[in-house]
Symmetry: C2
Subunit: 156 residues, 2 copies
DNA sequence: AATGTTAATGACAACCATTATCATTAAATA
DNA sequence: TATTTAATGATAATGGTTGTCATTAACATT
């Protein structure tokens, strides 16, 4: 899974440089893992995936990098009620584009959907504008999740 | 804060009885606390509030009751990214009615809003219907939160 | 009112995801 | 290559939450 040339995803090297950050092997490996999955991974998931190729990278380093990447806006951290956080590349870096989530309360399967983004975006824009004014809040983010029971979980 | 007659909120006594549950003093006290605040309380907040009147009720009991009340649908558990869960009476029992949340990412102040519920409800209904069909999900809940910086936090 | 059944409690230990510490390593730059 | 210091890895610590288990107390029955 690591890029053979050891160069890693080049598209973000500049991002790090200009902030005084360095492009390290662990950081690269973590971004590789996140860039090569469609799933939402826990810190441990990422640690295990990275571990196969770089067995000496520690879990602490994974946590540290995730925190940093979240602060940089390259990664988004989610809580789906599972007891541990899940991470995915943010919209701009993932190819998935802006989407929201459908979460099964039994098996914690997560579906990315962007089916109703037209309406949602319009609706959210309206709501944000209204709330910002009324409550003097500078709104930067939103979290939209639907919870329920997936097909598999409902048939047993 | 405890009801003087020792009877507690009567409106839910039946709820417990019919499920084989019992109305205990700790349970009553916890519901009293939740019923007498407009805020979103952590387990420890509730424990401390209850502690003033019943110093021998333990934190474990608070957790156990909250879990039970959440399962019964009388209480809702939220994660605002603060590292601990917050609880409030659910729509049917709180008098607040259905509402969503505006959360300050710095001080974790939470505002309940229901200003745009007309539009939101319509929009959510649509989305839920569409998602349910397309992804064969039995949707039961949604979580809508806006994040940002509150006025106080932005002026310092 | 006294009894029996068992849900619920309280004290405490254990769990487990996440953070803090700190000596060591290795990017980046010259 | 030498210098600087961001980043790492091993480990301990933190803190919210859950598990254990002997004891208590709701509540239905007598
Ligand atoms: Mn996603
Ligand atoms: Mn609320
Ligand atoms: Zn499921
Ligand atoms: Zn604030």
């Amino acid at each position: 899974m690591p890029n053979k040339d050891g160069a890693g995803p080049r598209w973000m090297h500049g991002k790090f440089k200009c902030c005084g950050y360095r492009m390290t092997k662990p950081r690269e490996a973590i971004l590789d893992v996140l860039g090569n999955t469609q799933e939402h991974l826990s810190a441990e998931d990422i640690y295990l995936a990275v571990h196969k190729f770089y067995p000496n990278i520690g879990l602490t380093t994974v946590y540290r990098n995730l925190e940093m990447l979240v602060n940089m806006g390259m990664v988004v951290k989610f809580d789906f009620g599972e007891g541990r956080s899940k991470y995915e590349l943010s919209d701009n870096y993932s190819g998935k584009g802006h989407h929201h989530h459908l979460v099964c309360k039994k098996c914690y399967k997560v579906i990315d959907y962007s089916d109703f983004m037209k309406d949602e975006v319009k609706f959210l824009k309206n709501t944000e504008d209204g709330l910002s004014k009324k409550y003097e809040f500078n709104i930067t983010d939103h979290l939209i999740q639907f919870f329920g029971i997936c097909k598999k979980c409902s048939t047993k």
